[in-house]
Each structure stands twice: as structure tokens, then as C-alpha cells.
């Protein structure tokens, strides 16, 4: 058991967690932030993507204790006082989701992309997003959503 000091979606969180607790379980079970999903559990699908100090990680492969001293961003922190983030708006506008189970991971990953490359090329989008599986959309509308958000934030 260890005490972990983190900032989760802008709020300070101090919690005792067992050494072997995964970040995904810490977020979902302990903090009740179930927007982050778990699917493969082995770092392949990207459903569990969150940002740790701004960098995307698979929370199913990350121990919660590694988050000590870090900021964590999850899908629940994307909207600002009910005002959706431009990426969230773009996913709705362009139909970048269907069942929605991969969507939190896609959006977190795309957020990190746009922070690094505000106007990504299509190839940059593909290379950045290739670790996030989606079985519903065939990816076309996810690419469209990210391009649309990038255009919107620029202007």
C-alpha cells in the first residue's frame, strides 16, 4: 500500500493504493471515473488511453503508483463546465463514434496529438492513432473528426 498524490482532471487526489493496482482500476473502481474503458487489458486496443503529464499511456499497463506526483487527464475532464471540447464536438458532428466504447480512448489520444501537431497531416493522424482500435466506424469518420477539430481550433 502506498499513498499516491495526483491531480486528476484538475482536482488534487490523495489516495492509498495497493502496489499492484493498475491505473485503469484505480480510476474506474476507486475514483469511479468509468469513462476510461478497459477492453484487451494488454496494451493493444487503446480503449484505456489516458494522459499522464500530457502524454498518452495505456492505463491497463500502468501501475497506479506510477502516477504519484503526476497530473492525470481522463475523458471526464475534457468538457469545461458543460462546454464540450472542440474534439468532442467534432466527434459528434462528424459521427466519429458508433457504439462509443472506444471513443474516450480515441478522444484522449487525439487530444495529445493536437497538442503536439495542431494541424496534423492525414498520415500523422493515422500514425498517431494506430494504437486505438475501433470495430464500428472503420476509422474514416474518426479521421474526419480529428481533421475537423484541428481546423476549428486553428481559426
Amino acid at each position: 500500500m502506498r499513498t499516491v498524490h495526483t491531480t486528476v482532471n484538475g482536482q488534487r487526489v490523495v489516495a492509498d493504493v495497493p502496489d499492484n493496482t493498475l491505473l485503469v482500476d484505480f480510476l474506474r473502481s476507486q475514483l469511479e471515473l468509468t469513462g476510461t474503458k478497459e477492453s484487451c487489458g494488454v496494451g493493444v486496443c487503446g480503449a484505456c488511453s489516458v494522459l499522464l503529464d500530457g502524454k498518452p499511456v495505456s492505463s491497463c499497463l500502468t501501475l497506479a503508483v506510477f502516477a504519484d506526483g503526476c497530473t492525470i487527464e481522463t475523458i471526464e475532464g475534457m468538457a469545461d463546465d458543460n462546454k464540450l471540447h472542440p474534439l468532442q464536438e467534432a466527434f459528434i458532428r462528424c459521427g466519429g463514434f458508433q457504439c462509443g466504447i472506444c471513443t474516450p480512448g480515441q478522444i484522449m489520444m487525439a487530444k495529445a496529438l493536437l497538442e503536439q501537431h495542431p494541424r496534423p497531416t492525414r498520415m500523422q493522424i493515422k500514425q498517431w492513432m494506430m494504437g486505438n482500435l475501433c470495430r464500428c466506424t472503420g476509422y474514416y469518420k474518426i479521421i474526419e473528426s480529428i481533421e475537423s477539430a484541428a481546423e476549428g481550433t486553428k481559426s
Partner: protein
């Protein structure tokens, strides 16, 4: 009925999906996101053998693990068998195991770690038995019989032509369907050319990103609360009631979002076991399959072995086709909601095949049980037919597009299985694809091209219902009986309702509440829901309008026969008029609101309207590595009225990439003992965003009434 809207303003419009805000913010709650006080985690121990007798199970050590509340073995759930049509699935293995991955014992514990520790301490002694994995071997007289006895069979009905025998006297055969149309023997005797090819098509997994999950709480007075990833809660409730021998009124399926279905989430999967764990532990129990269990022991698409024989005349016109299609059903049949593999109904559907002879077999083997996946049998049969036609065209030195076009079905032709269909725009679809692709333009080096066609009629079978109510503020609530699995179903219901009532979309609310508070819905299946729910909505709107007419007559002091709905949205009678908001406000004050009406569809066995698709792909190959890459595709469709272009295009793109995966990179590899060896998402390769081809979609502007 307000002035600012027109009847069809929302139908055909790319409106944003109603579930968008929940899904992009993480608020959407899926089964695994539900936590109940005192909830335990359920896990199972699975068989390492394809076929074995269970000699003994010792759970004594496992019981001593702290935090363990229940341990079940086959003896605790003896006597139960469940399944769809074929009731052959035990809740836990009953003395024998029939595939690698079959559930043998289960534990419910406070933590996943405690459950896993307990599982590791259960000792099972097995005695290995013979097994059979290959369908051809399973059909031999001396084959190992996967089951000694046929199970109980319920509701083995066909909606289409064919002669169906369940459990005929053939080794390991679950169902045998035979169908003859025309006079194939005579046609074969007259043929100038004959070709025969056999195609072996491997199994694939549905690949939904949300694994099968369920959470069950059983109260002391017998009420059972269920949250589960199931596309059709009303059907699941009935099946669960039967499987557990409890009245269905005692069971409630609560609303949850479904993280992808693709046909794979219509059965009960772990729910019966989860219920028994909850009952024994006297605590709610949650079971979530991990991705290893999903890939090795869920209910993937059937592997198939398909032999096709085709007779042609000297002009390369198809005279007759024969097909023997053998589907590997694995160890249990109960994951299929129908008695046979329905893909045969679209066999060679794009073509004029005047004489046809089909045999469809479902066969037990000691492999993972196969279930339903998007157009069950369709991709296997289409892959075989389209490859066969390409091989024929190559042998006869014909252009594969023109050969198909010359043999395309046209208005007035019967389908290959002898059904009458209309709106047969097959040639127009081929032409559109050829034109867009530029089939005749020169090819680059190391590039190949191919075309494939598909035909599929929308389903019009089984019941859809809505309960529609309009309140004192003229807001409309539409209660439906199934969740939106991701197809945009609820958004389409809102659009259709708004269109019929001429109300703004914002005034319509659509919800699946729970099975107690919603009307029966068969759910998405066989491309039926948009068609069947539309009929239910129309019926409900008609009933609502009749009620509004009565109210308006009373309010305006006129007879019902004098009431008119004006194009500007006002309701008028004898020179006086009122708008809907004012009418409903008056009705509420008079105690006559909300107005609640029920609408139901009129199910028919089979639609005679059908749809076609033609796809052309350009594929490049790296000669050094052998790696192929699909560079570019054109997909052309004749689908009739599109309700929502966003969700419609989403279905095309998602379906296309699934087909791409099945063709290019996905395969459930079975080992010699039938065990799935592509058991992680690293070995089972789902397409990623890097793999997808450039895509152009063409929708034919054909107004087809459905």
C-alpha cells in the same frame, strides 16, 4: 405540426446522434461501469482439453481462500441446458468437456485476485477422449460423436424456402437444409462448361471492443436485476427465464450501453452462470470476459467449407449452380438464434441462376462454439461464390466485371433460391462502380483489381413496438424495447417520429428504460430494425393523431370529421384553428394529457425488396515480402431511402472495414485440438487505422419504397 417544420425535414437529414453527448464525455454507462454495493467478481475455470471426461473436481483448497463467497461446479447446476433453438449448452460442463475453453467451474470473490487464486487451487482430473475438429472428418461414419443425444429443439422454423431437418441421422449434423429450384440435373446435362471449386473459409471473431459482460443481483424475494451486454433485452429476458426456470416477470434487464454487437451479443453467454453465483453468494456478481476468453471461448463466426459447381452455356451464361456448404458449429449449437445458417438465402443473389441445388449443413466439432456475426454465412458464401466466378472468368478469358454484368439478375428474374424480388438494380450498381473506379484505365506495376457483388434484402420479420406519448407541453416520448447498439437506432426513431408528427427534433425523446417499462422489441437482426420500427412509429402516430382529432374537435366545438391538419401546422375546424402546443396545454388542464398510444409493426416473413452492392478494390503487392495492401476501393450501393446519412455511411464504412479484416488480416487459428491459438489481439489482427484503403462510396439515386 408546427409551422416551421415540414413532414420530411428530418428524414434524410444528417442530424447529430442523440447519444453523442453521453458517448464523447464518458457519461455513457456500459455494463462493466455499473458497480453495486457488496458486488463480487465472478471468474471461471476452463477446460484445457478438446474432449474429456471429468473424473473428479476438488474445490476444498479453493474454498479456504479469503474473500471467496461461492464456488460452483457442474453438480451445482445440473439439469439446466440453455441455448437459442437448440438447448444444448450446460451452464457448467456436465461430466464431459467438448472444447478447449469450456467452463468447468466458477468462483465469486470480493476481488479478482481472490477469484483467480481460488481458481488456481481447484483440482480437476480429466480422462481424455477422442475428438474431432475438421468438419469433413466429423461427417464420417466412424467419427467421434460430439454429443450422444440430440438436445431439445424449440422454434426451428424457416422464413425462406428449403427443406429443413434438425438432427438428421448423419454423424454430428445439427441441421441439414436442402433446396432445389428449377431442374439442375437437366441444366448440367446441357452445359458447355462446368467448373467446380472448394473454398475453406476460417472463423473470425466479431471483434467488438467491449467484451461480454453481465452483472446480476438476485433479491431474497426472487427478483432478479440484470445488466448485460445484450442487443435484445426482451429476448434475453425470456431466454434467461427459461434457462433458469423462473418466471420472466421476476427478471428485469436494465438499460446499459452496448459496446459493439455485430451479431455476437444476442445470446446469454455467462448470464445463467452469473445468476447461480449470485444466488449462492447472496451478493451481486459481475462477470466480464477477458480478451483471451473472448477470442478462445465466446461465439465467433462459423468456419465453412463450401464446394460450388457451376454449369454455363457456350455464351458463358450461368445455367445452374450446385453448392454444398458445411459450417463448423463447434461444440454447441445454442449460440445461433436460427436453425440453419441464413446466408444461403442470399446465395449468388446478384445473379440469374435459373437452376439451383443447395445443401447447407451445420456440424458439431470439438472447437469453440460458433454463433452469429453480421450477416451469418453471408461473407463465407459470398467469398466462395465471387472467387469461383473470378476463376471461371479467368479460365474462359472473360473480363470479371462484364461476365458478372452479363449474368446479373434483372427485374422479373427469380432469385437463385426461387424467390420473387423487386427493384433489382444490380446492373446499375455494377455500372456505377465500374464508372467511378475507372475499370478500363491502365494498371500500375504489381497491382491487381477485383470486383465483388452482394445482395441482401432488409428484414421485415418479428415484432417491433413503440409506446408514444405526447404531454401538455407537446413534447413526445417514444419508449422502445432495445438499446442503441451503436447503429444510430434511437436517433432514427426520433427523426422518423419528428417527421411523422411535424415536430422539431428537440421535442422528441427516445429511450429504452428497462424490460418492465418498455414494449417488446426483437432488436437489431437481419437489417430489420429501421424498417420494422418505422412501421411501429407510423402506427403509433396514426393512433396519436386520431386522439388529437378528438381533442381538437372538442376544443373547437366541431365534429371530428371537420378537423383538418393544415400544412402550416395548425389544426383547423369550421373556420377556427389552434396549434398543437395550445391544444395540448388545454388537454392537460382538462385532465386529458398525456396522450399515450401504442404502435406495432406488421411483420412479414420476407421482404421482396432487396438491395445490391458492388465493390471494386485495387490491391498492390510487394514482390519481395509478399505483403499485400488494399490501396483503393469503390463501394456502390442501391439502398433506397436513407434516413440519416451520417449513421448510414457509418454502417457502410464499418462493414467494409470488417470485411477487409476478414479478407486480409483476421483469422481465428485453430490448433490440432481445436483450441484457438490466435488468442490475443496481438495474434488476432484487427484492422487499424493504418490499414484502411482510400474509399469512395456511391449511393444510387433510386427511390425504392420499402
Amino acid at each position: 405540426m408546427t409551422a416551421q417544420t415540414q413532414p420530411s425535414e428530418f428524414v434524410g437529414k444528417a442530424v447529430e446522434r442523440l447519444d453523442g453527448p453521453d458517448k464523447v464525455t464518458g457519461r455513457a454507462r456500459y455494463t462493466a461501469d455499473v458497480f453495486l454495493p457488496g458486488m463480487l467478481i465472478g471468474r471461471c475455470l476452463r477446460s484445457p482439453y478438446a474432449s474429456a471426461r471429468i473424473v473428479s473436481i476438488d474445490t476444498s483448497k479453493a474454498k479456504r481462500v479469503p474473500g471467496v463467497f461461492a464456488i460452483l461446479t457442474g453438480a451445482d447446476v445440473a439439469g439446466y441446458r440453455y441455448g437459442r433453438v437448440c438447448r444444448d449448452i450446460p451452464i457448467l460442463a456436465q461430466g464431459v468437456v467438448r472444447f478447449v475453453g469450456e467452463k468447468v467451474a466458477a468462483v465469486a470473490a470480493e476481488t479478482a485476485e481472490a477469484a483467480d487464486t481460488a481458481l488456481s487451487l481447484i483440482r480437476v482430473e480429466y480422462e481424455e477422449l477422442p475428438f474431432v475438429v475438421d468438419v469433413h472428418a466429423a461427417l464420417r461414419d466412424d467419427a467421434h460423436r460430439v454429443h450422444d443425444q440430440p438436445p431439445k429443439v424449440v422454434g426451428a422454423r424457416l422464413r425462406n424456402p428449403g427443406d429443413l431437418k434438425m438432427y438428421p441421422p448423419l454423424p454430428n449434423v445439427i441441421s441439414q437444409l436442402t433446396l432445389r429450384h428449377g431442374n439442375p440435373a437437366e441444366a448440367f446435362a446441357q452445359a458447355d462448361h462446368q467448373f467446380q471449386h472448394t473454398f475453406n473459409i476460417p472463423s473470425v471473431h466479431q471483434g467488438y471492443i467491449e467484451p461480454h459482460s453481465c452483472l446480476i443481483a438476485a433479491s431474497d424475494d426472487g427478483d432478479v436485476d440484470v445488466w448485460m451486454s445484450n442487443k435484445a433485452p426482451h429476448g434475453a429476458r425470456a431466454a434467461l427465464a427459461e434457462a433458469l426456470s423462473i418466471p420472466k416477470e421476476k427478471i428485469t434487464l436494465n438499460p446499459v450501453f452496448i459496446g459493439g454487437d455485430f451479431g455476437g451479443k444476442g445470446g446469454l453467454m455467462d448470464a445463467p452462470l452469473c445468476y447461480h453465483l449470485a444466488l449462492h453468494a447472496r451478493r451481486p456478481v459481475k462477470m466480464v470476459m477477458n480478451s483471451f476468453e473472448e477470442l478462445t471461448a465466446a461465439n465467433p463466426r462459423h468456419a465453412a467449407s463450401i464446394t460450388l459447381t457451376t454449369a454455363l452455356d457456350r455464351n458463358a451464361r450461368i445455367l445452374a449452380m450446385k453448392a454444398r456448404m458445411i459450417f463448423n458449429s463447434g461444440a454447441y449449437a445454442g449460440f445461433c438464434p436460427v436453425p440453419t445458417i441464413h446466408g444461403y438465402t442470399a446465395f449468388a443473389g446478384p445473379y440469374k441462376v435459373p437452376n439451383c441445388d443447395l445443401e447447407v449443413l451445420r456440424v458439431y466439432t470439438n472447437a469453440v462454439p460458433a454463433g452469429h456475426m453480421r450477416s451469418p454465412g453471408g461473407p463465407q458464401i459470398t467469398f466462395a461464390v465471387e472467387s469461383h466466378l473470378d476463376m471461371i472468368a479467368r479460365d474462359l478469358q472473360l473480363d470479371p466485371c462484364r461476365f458478372r454484368r452479363d449474368n446479373a439478375i434483372a427485374e422479373g428474374d427469380l432469385s437463385p433460391i426461387g424467390e420473387r424480388r423487386q427493384f433489382l438494380h444490380c446492373r446499375a450498381v455494377i455500372d456505377a462502380a465500374i464508372r467511378e473506379f475507372g475499370w478500363d484505365r491502365p494498371k500500375g506495376a504489381d497491382v491487381g483489381r477485383g470486383i465483388a457483388l452482394y445482395e441482401y434484402p432488409p428484414g421485415t420479420f418479428d415484432d417491433s413496438n413503440v409506446v408514444m406519448s405526447i404531454d401538455g407541453a407537446a413534447k413526445v416520448d417514444v419508449a422502445v424495447g432495445a438499446p442503441d447498439t451503436g447503429t444510430g437506432f434511437h436517433t432514427i426513431v426520433a427523426q422518423l417520429t419528428a417527421g411523422e408528427l411535424q415536430l422539431p427534433l428537440n421535442d422528441i425523446r427516445v429511450a429504452f428504460r428497462d424490460t418492465g417499462a418498455s414494449p417488446f422489441e426483437r432488436g437489431p437482426s437481419g437489417s430489420r430494425l429501421t424498417t420494422t420500427i418505422q412501421q411501429a412509429i407510423k402506427a403509433a402516430v396514426d393512433a396519436i393523431k386520431t386522439a388529437l382529432t378528438t381533442l381538437a374537435a372538442e376544443r373547437l366545438g366541431a365534429r371530428e370529421g371537420d378537423v383538418r391538419y393544415r400544412p402550416d401546422g395548425l389544426i383547423e375546424a369550421r373556420g377556427k384553428s389552434i396549434d398543437l402546443k395550445a391544444l395540448m396545454a388545454w388537454a392537460e388542464a382538462a385532465g386529458k394529457a398525456p396522450v399515450v398510444r401504442h404502435g406495432k409493426n406488421t411483420p412479414t416473413g420476407r421482404s421482396d425488396v432487396t438491395c445490391f452492392a458492388a465493390q471494386i478494390a485495387e490491391v498492390g503487392v510487394d514482390r519481395e515480402t509478399g505483403q499485400i495492401r488494399v490501396n483503393f476501393m469503390v463501394t456502390a450501393h442501391d439502398v433506397g431511402q436513407v434516413i440519416n446519412p451520417i449513421t448510414h455511411q457509418g454502417q457502410i464504412e464499418g462493414g467494409l472495414v470488417q470485411a477487409f479484416g476478414q479478407t486480409v488480416c483476421e483469422r481465428l487459428h485453430f490448433g490440432d485440438d481445436g483450441a484457438v491459438i490466435s488468442a490475443t489481439l496481438g495474434d488476432y489482427k484487427l484492422p487499424t487505422v493504418m490499414d484502411i484503403p482510400d474509399l469512395t462510396t456511391i449511393l444510387l439515386p433510386v427511390p425504392t419504397a420499402i
